[in-house]
């Protein structure tokens, strides 16, 4: 139990996603930072690394793919989990090629994402 807290960054332009996820993940003991614009999220990752990044792909005026590409460039060992409402095979394939850890279609259950996070955490250790 002496391990450092696992840090998670959430990016989704629909505020409800981080508003629901953040308290739930904090309750589970994670350190969480949430953003609704990729601009702010990009600024944030330039400054520090997160263990896990959860991002939407398709957002208004924002490209989640660019964001996750930058994350993987800068921190190859950060695990990226993609959440999206418009899952196509092409986008799924592209994101896996970029080294995404897993892909979750919206809507999803809190339990489902918690499970994916736990697996990503296990992989990092």
């Amino acid at each position: 139990m002496e391990n450092k807290q696992t840090s998670i960054l959430i990016l989704d332009d629909e505020p409800i996603v981080s508003r629901r996820l953040t308290p739930s993940l904090e309750k589970k003991g994670y350190e969480v930072e949430a953003f609704t614009t990729s601009k702010e999220a990009l600024e944030c990752i330039e400054e520090r690394q997160f263990d896990i990044v959860i991002t939407d792909l398709k957002m208004e005026g924002v490209d989640g793919m660019q964001f996750l590409t930058r994350v993987k460039e800068k921190y190859p060992d950060t695990e990226v989990i993609v959440i999206t409402g418009f899952a196509t095979m092409a986008t799924a394939k592209e994101s896996f090629n970029k080294g995404v850890f897993d892909f979750l279609a919206k809507p999803f259950k809190l339990g489902e994402i918690a499970e994916v996070i736990a697996r990503a955490e296990a992989k990092r250790k």
Binding site: I16, R20, E26, G29
Partner: protein, 853 residues
Amino acid sequence: MKLNDQIRKFFGLKKKETIPFKILFAEFKKSLDLNNQILDLIADANDKLSGDYIFDEQYIQSSCRRLDDLVRQLIVTINHLTEQKYVELYTSFHRIEEELEALLKGRALGRVKDFILPYNAVTRDLTDSVGGKNAHIGEIGAVLDLRIPDGFAITTAAFSFFLEENNIRETILEIRRQWHQSEIAVDDASRQIQKVIMEAEVPKALRDDILNAASHVSKQYQDTIPCFAVRSSAIGEDEISSFAGQYLSCLNIPLQEIPQAYKEVLASLFSPEAMEYRLMMDFRPHEIMMAVACQMMVPAKASGVLYTYDPVRPEEESMIVNSAWGLGEPIVAGEVATDNFVLERRPPHEVREIQIVRKSETMVLRGCGGIGIDKVGEERRMESSLTKQQLRELAEIGTQLEKYFKRPQDIEFAIDPQDKVIVLQSRQLRLQQKRAPRACDLIGLGGKYPVLVRGKGIAAMEGIATGPAWVFTEGRDLSTFPMGGILVARHATPQLARVINQAAGFITDVGSTTGHLATVAREFRVPALFNTENGTELIADGQEITLDTECLTIYEGIVQELQYYAIQEEPIEEMYEYRLLRRVLKKIEPLNLTDPTADNFTPEGCLTYHDLTRFIHEKAVETIIDLNFYHAHHRDSQAGKLLWDFPLDLILIDVGGGIEGSHEQGIQPEQIRSIPMQALLKGMSYPGMWDMTPAGVDFSSFMSSLTRTSSVRSTSPEDVGRNLAVVSAEYTNINFRLGYHFTVIDAFVSENILDNHIYFRFSGGVTETTRRSRRTRLLAKILSHYDFLCEMHGDIVVARLKRTDQGEMMQRLFLLGLLVGFTRQLDVKMVSEEIIDTFFNEIKTIMEKEHGK
């Protein structure tokens, strides 16, 4: 014959030509497929309300679009099938579709066009139109049934109208711009804007609306001259407490002077403090809006403020009340000394501390149109301004408001001349920030607090509840249920919903997330944990417990760590998406057409998409039966009624080689040549599944004990509904309606493995309830055991099996036959979790006996 003629016409056939049954049947199957897709979508959407899911607006939009589309197709299909017999369905459909569309445009919908909204029409969802103060007070009166002042809201639409009619919006923005660019000082800007507003006229249309609303409200008080309090209810005011109190309240205003007071309140939106505050908070011009509350004055004997927590020391578990004689204004403003009471948060809310101060002055109404300060008589100066009874009532109201708004509350109240408590305002109370509990705090909870239940049950509504357990036993009077108690019961029966306004939580041994109680728990956002199996045995009546439905855990005692978490966490119901889905589902999910013989079973009677779907399904089956059984027989099909002993009218339509011999006098089971149908019938007529005559000892005695309360025999076949099977030598499509269940089986069995398939679908009608979860899980357990691929949507079970050889397929159809008779009985009682295994084992025994597996 008329119907047949119509259909002939539709399909472009000449008078003597019969429509090939194949065409009709294809349409019929299309309607079934649409029906199934719709019910699956509805069940999935309903599931999202449990709090278990993260969904966004996009999901709601796309689900609604998809439903619109499917329901429209379904109506087209039934009208094909019946040659436009049910075109009225389009009218009901368009009405619902439009209502949904309006809801989906939601954010704009919040901004109503009316200038005035009476309090009984105001809810939280209208916050954008009526401001926080109005929205809260309206909701408190309407939903919680607490006493509030009579009154109405003057909306932001009225504010816009006022600015536009007077053509002063630009003027105001220009002054604001000058101030933002430091050309003028804030005091100067404020004075200029307020002058512009005070010199403007309240437009006649608005003025008339206000005066009409005011005289309507005051009609009930004929013996007194109607006087009003006109208060600000700005957008964003109640959410930010530091903003409160910056605006004006005009007290004791005679009816005719309300428009003038209205202007004064609007002008206070531009006080220097408010302007500075908005600059700091980066308010945009469109966010600077003022709604106004217009309330009948309460000639208060005493007034005060209740905090449901001590904001500085929440861990003390106390409520705080400050009160004094007369009107509340000087109390809120902190201008007079007040009596101070500290109460226990827990019922019965014992008084911990009392401090009575010397109250020498009091603010009172001076007839209509004035207020004044009176001296308090010597004998009352040191008297408590509240009675013990009133304190307790206040504490109960506080608990109720806190429970409802899921936040600690800061409540302003008045005691009226009849000594009744009136709630004037309730808003969120900010507690001194506590460190948010982290896993390290929470992980150890199990050790710190004894765990009564862990990892059992299903969350019908997520959340945390603390309070005394109240164990409901047969015959116990629900009206004695205590405010803030947690109801513990064996079954999640709908009658328990009666205590929804008092209950902090629900725990049941048995119950399903699609039941009525679950629906109500979600609507009122009361945490509910069902299917704990033996919660009633583990929890003692009166015992204090903490319920955490997210973690499926019940602790003994009050777990403070969780309690603080519960009040700090953002409740999902405060999220727009959650409210939107709930509103949207109200137009989609409820089933009003439950009885095909009732007067409302008409196209006009369809109020929701579920109703439309239900109506069309009934009519589709009816049409196929009418066309093939009661009316002309097709050359390419033959129909007859199955002659057997079971309480189920089954019309068989043979489309080729499915039935041998004559159909005229009905069809004997021996005449059936259809391979899948034979296997199904063998299962359906298995001793002990349909009839109640004793067969396999344990199973049947068990079953008969279960079914005693509702005899299958007493139900006439008409009540059970018309059932249809379309068969050929290798094919069977069955549609059963048994009570509220619908069962569809579609099977093709031949020598060719690749062609073989079985589709089984069981549903119970989404709003009809009780013990569904167990029933669903039992079915899924059995079906999966026998290699079916199972899906569950709410209480709908869909099972598929493909590409299996004929012998194996026949065994599976025998199994489905068993389940058809059996599922009817399942409604009676799924009394405990063990029953799933009992039934499962019994079915296995039969299968082993018959097929050696």
